[in-house]
Symmetry: C2
Subunit: 256 residues, 2 copies
Amino acid sequence: MVKLTLVKVGGKIVEESESLKQLLADFSKIEGYKVLVHGGGRSATAMAAKLGIESQMVNGRRITDAETLKVVTMVYGGLVNKQIVAGLQAIGVNALGLTGADLNYMRSEKRPVKDVDYGFVGDVKEVNADILADLIAKGVVPVLAPLTHDKAGNMLNTNADTIAGEAAKALAKHFEVTLMFCFEKKGVLMNENDDESVISEITPALFEKYVAEGVISGGMIPKLENSFEAISAGVNKVIITRADLIHTEGGTKISG
Amino acid sequence: MVKLTLVKVGGKIVEESESLKQLLADFSKIEGYKVLVHGGGRSATAMAAKLGIESQMVNGRRITDAETLKVVTMVYGGLVNKQIVAGLQAIGVNALGLTGADLNYMRSEKRPVKDVDYGFVGDVKEVNADILADLIAKGVVPVLAPLTHDKAGNMLNTNADTIAGEAAKALAKHFEVTLMFCFEKKGVLMNENDDESVISEITPALFEKYVAEGVISGGMIPKLENSFEAISAGVNKVIITRADLIHTEGGTKISG
């Protein structure tokens, strides 16, 4: 199968024009088919504040009431997404910005209220990768905003890591997919105080060992669990790395 | 050639949820291939006001400074566009929201400063209709926001009537295009005080006659001039009608 690299970048890097420019240049250097998934949380929080809407976070997730849904739809689907698409077009990458509603490529359902009412947040139920795969094979580079829809007329807020994982799994039927998560370090560190102590590869056995030893903890645990899940679902490999290394072979490789 | 209907609707109708719902239902009844072009000026003005940005209009056009460009990118490309796309998907229309940057389908240049500095407003220079035509032939319904890009990384604000006209002309190479402009009346009126006095057809000769007689005046003159220009450029017909009549044969037909 033909290779496809799906890169997920967080909000910060795409929200400042200089770092965005560098990111897009690095992204454009990735050979072969590619997809970019972006966040935009900082911009959403800033815009909400300007509009007098308080951003409420629970477990790192945004509580999305009706007014906040409008803000994220504007900011993720409009402002951030189009800045990226225009930036990629400027360097010859034929980008196409998408939310889950566009082409109905990702359908979700509003998260049921349990302990927390997250509001208009969507849990992914269906990914229609065929039409995406078709566009990708024509040289189009999808730029995916962290928004889905319920196919009943409502947009829903969906975490960018989730969008990346779900898109990667669905596209694995069509391509040999590398899923790349960017964060602020060069990779998963053996020693959190040593930025150069990047673990080159993590297998399920090593993961259990590192968790038991406390080497891996906190938010990295669900990130790695999601990575193993993606690999089980057909994704070829997952790489956790820093945004400026996406076009290199660096970072931590997660393997099945 | 296969028929394609391109409908342009103004801001008001797509900005209120009830009228939007009705519009999308009517739009979905149009047989054959279709494209929807939308405005969103009222929402942009309202959002700008909430953000403390004053909307300045000259000759009916928005002066688009850097902050206003962000607002229209968010509102047109995000909020309004995605509400329409999600609404169409809910009734089984496979919509795809696009700005000119997406797929580089419409490139513009920042309007040169003459008497008025319109700011970040784009004059259309190039329409790449092939990829749009390809998607349309697969059953995709493009939903075009009034935004273009300069292929140098910048989004630009572009009037929705212009987007509709330019897209219609470029798509006329691939389809037999009907371009439909919606406004608040059933069509062009012979007597402005009689809403039922719709002129069924306007030829260039009749246009000259009606202008000379004062039957047609004001903003309708450039609208009709643009319509004749579209027909000269290969558009099959232009219809001026009310939004609730788009799926009927009603309105004023402009013919070459």
